[in-house]
């Protein structure tokens, strides 16, 4: 099985890129959710 290491490397790098992108989206979602909750709480307190 010549070049099998290259095949595994390609799959590993490919999946890592997808996973890294998913992480950035998840982080952005979490940060926005936190901001939204904080603002809603501020609004409720001021009412």
């Amino acid at each position: 099985m010549k070049n099998l290491d290259s095949v595994f490397a390609a799959y590993l790098v490919g999946w890592a890129i997808f996973f890294a992108y998913y992480l950035t989206v998840a982080r952005r979602t979490a940060a926005l959710r936190e901001d939204l909750e904080r603002l809603k709480n501020l609004l409720n307190r001021s009412k």
Partner: protein
């Protein structure tokens, strides 16, 4: 939340099954040998990236015609996801090329047009960071996105119209092109797995834009109070 976990689990299962098919089910190609198995990641990623750019193009057109923010949200989501898939194509291609061609990269029509496509969508995303006013940002990026899509037919046609170092098409190619039936099945299954991943990522990214709009509304409400 349960829906997200279920969706993620299905996509993960499809990706693992596609990798298993590529490594253990598909027959070994006669000329290139084992290294050709990268084909089942490289080609479906390319097709999925082009599909995402097509969705971006349609969303951009719809934004220009209707001026509804949801088309802008879909456009930017599709552009980011398409860019991610194209990045995978540009990284896995050289890993495949090096043992076969004896070089990592060459500026032939297919590789160059794909790299230009990647640059165009990076520019699309950068442009969005330069315009602050939301309506102007959405319009400018929609117009730029329509222009950027011109490169997609060039990427598709490059290996059909010009002689390239990149292999000639095995799908929708000329006479003598084609694939072994098992290779076809594994390729189509891998593409299905990639399309499911694209849908998952695009929905998650669209959610970010929707949440950002909610946040702006609440902010305006807080300022008025």
């Amino acid at each position: 939340m349960k829906k997200h976990i279920l969706g993620g689990a299905i996509v993960l299962f499809l990706l693992v099954a596609a990798a298993y098919g590529a490594l253990y089910v598909a027959p070994t190609e006669r000329t290139m040998g084992t290294i050709q198995r990268i084909f089942y990641l490289h080609v479906p990623s390319a097709w999925t990236g082009l599909t995402a750019f097509f969705i971006c193009f349609i969303a951009n057109l719809l934004y220009v015609v209707r001026r509804q923010p949801r088309w802008d949200w879909l456009g930017v989501s599709a552009a980011e996801v398409g860019l991610t898939f194209t990045t995978v194509v540009l990284v896995t291609g050289p890993i495949w090329a090096h043992p076969v061609w004896g070089m990592w990269w060459t500026w032939d029509a297919r590789l160059t047009s794909t790299f230009v496509l990647w640059l165009l969508y990076v520019a699309y995303l950068l442009l969005r960071t330069l315009v602050e006013e939301p309506d102007r940002r959405a319009l400018f990026s929609a117009l730029f996105g329509i222009f950027a899509f011109i490169d997609v037919p060039l990427v598709f046609g490059s290996i059909r119209w010009w002689r390239t170092q990149h292999p000639q098409p095995v799908v929708m190619g000329g006479t003598g092109s084609g694939l072994d039936p098992t290779m076809w099945r594994v390729l189509l299954f891998s593409w299905l797995a990639m399309l499911s991943l694209m849908t998952l990522l695009m929905l998650a990214r669209y959610g970010v834009e929707a949440m950002r709009a909610d946040l702006d509304l609440v902010r305006q409400e807080a300022e008025a109070a």
